[in-house]
Subunit: 350 residues, 2 copies
């Protein structure tokens, strides 16, 4: 794997007319995408977690992007309230299980929650949709019913229960991946669907069509107790291993780590059951968790993601599935959806 | 995810006759498998890597299981020679890239290699096979031709170029996983196949049937420079993130970490290109790498794996794909092959 260094060196050389131009890597395709294909992430959708500095005094900041409607908005409303109440300040990372998750929250499990958090039903793990074929052959999914009925009107936060959602899936890289449902990208997020995602033939749906977000590397979800509990959002985890997709539809996903995941994934593994730290001194203190929107403007981190509806993303995904950049000799000819991470980058300060 | 602690507590309670018996988890199914379903791993197939102790003086041992024939035996022969020559002693972990690999070898890239290492052709990344249906409906794959022609007879090491290989794949959890080929388990290892794995109808093969090992979490492979170089085996890496299956058939896989992967996966990520450590002081020294067979008998670690041909494994895999143990409310109904890790455990000292 020293190769990629070599490849970088080769790319830095002038290209002679009689030499083949190297085929760009997926990362190079994303980097070359025009500015119009990049979508800024709103500060109200960014959660900024500052862990205590490491042993050498280096800061450890983890930035999480929260999901857009129609996914998991009840829990995400709770998370915004918890951040506004500074509830996580002084809590800790309590569990790190290899090839699975890093988890944080209140180690005592006794800290009172802020008032007004919603209790969410398990039906919120999935989003019922109906399909509408557009004249331009783009497939749109519309949220079919207001499944947020158990939410307070405050928690609804003015969001429209009918959310148009463009779903893009290319047959060649959106196969079923070992699971009995299809996968695709919707509004920048990897989703799976049953019945619903029989693109381009929605009429073949089996049962009520529905879609749900996927547990890929870096996904952030809501810890819970046994069913019917679905968790409040006060206890969160991030995936730090191979996609544990058996958790899909069994736990609420609320976002993904977009910066600083190494501050979670490289933590010592806990030696207790399920990777819990046995000694309180092993826990990693959380200094604060804030919405970026609640930070002073100058301190707000800014990120953007490559629109999954763009041609650039389609070419990027095709390149992920068919690596032809110089190191590769046999393209896979496909990719599971978690092997096509959505490109996300910091926005340079102006 | 506090749930699993709760689940464990529930399982510890006496079960009353009128209560449903909890459905066992995949791990419980494996733990309950009879002794005959567990296969001891030969000391000649175990590579023992001792890193320098950590900052608190704790030992860091990583144990790697090498692959059986017909996979990658040329590189594995080299690796046995490198270990016998103590070649890795004093080398280091030089690269840790998040959600990808930890890599080790000679940081100077100038250390002379032992004499007699084989140079392997890229054709060795795959194993051509022919199929033979047995009367009991078990499918066997036989190595079709001696593709080791470029190896010295010494490197061949007496291995039979025609290796019978039982391949087990259950349609319900062996779907194509986003990639245009099938997956299955062969002799305890996850493999993919093109044409070859159209079980139960091998006659539908497209092109020459062939199989190859898969880059799952923990897989160990051979670093290389640009094609046609295939690497000697002196530079190795372990997967510490989501399965990078685009590397399949592009790099030789030689084994998997079966103990101590946390000593690699929790290392600080390198801040250089591709996760290389920029400062030599960041590298993690390797004290020694030995074949277990070359250690004194009393010091040899002993492990066993659950036979992938056993009924116990079939039930374990089915449970991985259809979680019905108490925490789960919606079984996935499938699993990608890297989400069905082969159970491996230490053998208790007698």
């Amino acid at each position: 794997m020293r190769h990629l260094l070599l490849a970088a060196a080769l790319l830095a050389l002038p290209v002679h007319a009689d030499e083949p131009v190297p085929i760009p890597s997926p990362g190079e395709i994303a980097a070359a995408a025009p500015a119009r294909d990049w979508i800024a992430i709103a500060p109200s959708d960014l959660l900024v977690m500052d862990l205590a500095p490491d042993a050498k005094g280096k800061p450890r900041r983890v930035v999480i992007q929260l999901m857009p409607p129609p996914f998991s908005q009840g829990w995400i409303g709770n998370i915004r309230k918890l951040a506004a109440a500074h509830w996580w300040d002084g809590t800790a990372v309590t569990r790190v299980q290899d090839n699975y998750v890093a988890q944080w929250g209140d180690p005592t499990e006794k800290k009172p929650l802020p008032e007004g958090l919603a209790t969410l039903p398990e039906s919120e793990y999935v989003t019922p949709v109906k399909w509408e074929q557009q004249p331009d052959e783009v497939v749109h999914a519309y949220r079919q019913r207001p499944a947020l009925a158990l939410l307070s009107s405050e928690a609804l936060d003015g969001s429209d229960p009918v959310v148009p959602l463009k779903v893009t899936g290319k047959e060649e890289w959106s196969r079923n991946e070992g699971y009995p449902y299809r996968t695709a990208f919707a509004a920048g997020w990897p989703v799976a669907g049953q019945g619903a995602l029989n693109i381009p033939n929605p009429s073949k749906s089996l049962g009520e069509p529905r879609i749900w977000p996927i547990h890929c590397y870096g996904a952030v979800g809501v810890g819970r107790n046994m069913s019917p509990d679905t968790g409040s959002g006060a206890e969160l985890y991030a995936v730090i291993g191979h996609a544990p997709r058996h958790l899909d539809r069994n736990i609420a996903l609320v976002g993904r780590v977009i910066s600083g995941i190494e501050h979670l994934s490289s933590l010592p593994r806990g030696t207790g059951d399920l990777g819990f730290y046995e000694d309180a001194a092993e826990r990693v203190p959380i200094v604060s968790i804030r919405l970026a929107a609640d930070l002073p403007a100058a301190e707000q981190p800014k990120f953007e993601y490559l629109s999954t509806d763009s041609d650039s993303f389609a070419r990027y995904a095709d390149a992920r599935a068919n690596r032809r950049d110089p190191f590769f000799i046999t393209p896979a000819g496909g990719a599971d959806i978690c092997n096509v991470p959505v490109p996300i980058r910091p926005v340079a300060a102006k």
